[in-house]
Amino acid sequence: MPDDVIDRGVFAELQAAAGAEFVAELIGTFLEEAPGLLVELRSAAAQGDADRYRRAAHSLKANAQTFGATSLGALARDLEHTPLSADQTQIGSTLAALDAQYAAAAATLTTLKG
């Protein structure tokens, strides 16, 4: 598994600081919460609500960085810092890329969770 999906160094550090058992629970919470953030991004984009869009991207970025999901975090960060485009096609392709990154991160985290 490539390291940029989940950076094993960051992940190990998190486990050392918070305990492996707790991190497994935390992954569970992230997997419950993240789909809601993706839905929120889509809905905010559709309504042209820049604040909500930025906030959802910001949250996703922070969580991704917590687990060492480097690529997902980088993509979410791009969304946070790029002004919400009026071009729905462009938003659609960006969010599709984000979905793919999330799916990869979620799969790896599920394995790591044990």
Binding site: A17, A18, T29, A62, Q65, H81
Partner: protein, 343 residues
């Protein structure tokens, strides 16, 4: 050695962040509570007491900047230490937080070792501030402590209308000579307890304690509706409490305690005098000198309470006074109108 447990409030709109931060705080031996946005956090802060706030910035309803602004504007929450934890990027948001009074800024994801150090440092600073405030409260009056907290410290005074009361124990020096010092301290402490009791209920503020003497202000640092009446009521109450205490002393075959009280009303200059390093809140002016002279004159006049004309005129008809005429007081060029209040 384990650090004492502190109560921390974690404010974050993201559940994963809240859980992880709570976990970090628990592992440091502290007790975490959580709020999901600024509005909820402020409600909790006003309801319960916390030692430290861990604050996210980007939140719906009320963001971290708004929380910092509200805390700064609230005297009861102004001193709560705040550590901002955020993944907001850019120096300007960090600067803005610090300017709004945040103690520290930790970027997310939060490093557990760094968090421990920052929490420890913040709690230690808070502990020192609390001790400092306690010292101010003990050695200054509550009113002066409040005035200092509200307006800060600045040397210099402002002119206010106030009533000044001086009181001391008659024959204190000979009492000191005739009994062991331990006993004198005990008598003094009883005397102060009684005097503070009499003064406190009337709105007076004990400004100075010098040996067996007290200087009490009515109307400074905080204004008082009827200073002269309050001061005279306090003086009457002081005599009544001392009379009661003397019954106890008589039962123990001890000589009675006698006090004299002088009261004057007028303009005084109130404020902080001293140096930047060491200062005291006090009142100065003719009114203060006059009250002190009247107190001294109680011995000569053989009266318990003497007041000046300004105080007498401000009293209601309910308080009888006896005119003693013009008296030439020490240090005063002209004769001063003096009244006695019977006790």
């Amino acid at each position: 050695m384990s650090a004492p447990t502190a109560r921390l409030l974690i404010v974050d709109d993201n559940k994963v962040n809240r859980l992880l931060m709570s976990r970090n705080v628990e592992m440091l031996g502290h007790r975490p509570a959580v709020a999901e946005n600024g509005r909820v956090a402020l409600e909790m802060l006003r309801r319960d007491s916390f030692d430290l706030l861990l604050l996210d910035i980007e939140m719906p309803e009320m963001d971290g900047f708004q929380v910092l602004e509200q805390l700064k504007a609230d005297p009861s929450l102004r001193d709560l230490p705040v550590i901002v934890t955020s993944s907001l990027e850019g120096m300007d948001s960090v600067v803005r937080c610090i300017e709004l009074g945040a103690e520290d800024y930790l970027p997310k994801p939060v490093n557990a070792v760094l968090l421990k150090a920052r929490i420890g440092a913040s709690l230690e600073k808070k502990r020192l501030r609390d001790i400092q405030r306690e010292i101010v409260r003990r050695f200054a009056t509550t009113e002066v402590a409040l005035d200092l907290e509200r307006s800060g410290f600045a040397l210099g005074g402002k002119r206010v209308h106030a009533t000044v009361l001086f009181s001391d124990i008659r024959g204190f020096t000979s009492m000191c000579e005739s009994q062991p010092p331990e006993e004198t301290i005990e008598v003094l402490n009883t005397y102060y307890a009684l005097m503070f009791d009499a003064i406190g209920s009337t709105g007076g503020v004990v400004n100075q304690i010098i040996g067996d003497g007290l200087m009490v202000l009515f109307g400074a640092p905080l204004p008082l509706a009827d200073g002269p009446s309050a001061a005279v009521s306090a003086a009457i109450e002081m005599h009544a409490l001392i009379a009661q205490y003397n019954l106890e002393r008589a039962a123990a075959q001890k000589a009675p305690l006698k006090i004299g009280v002088g009261i004057a009303t007028g303009d005084v200059v109130a404020g902080y005098t001293g140096t930047q390093q060491r200062a005291t809140y006090t009142c100065i002016g003719d009114t203060v000198n006059l009250a002190a002279r009247l107190e001294t004159y109680t011995k000569e006049a053989g009266r318990g309470i003497l007041i000046d004309g300004a105080t007498q005129r401000a009293l209601g008809a309910g308080t009888p006074t006896e005119a003693l005429g013009g008296v030439q007081l020490k240090g005063k060029a002209a004769a001063v109108e003096v009244f006695a209040v019977p006790v």
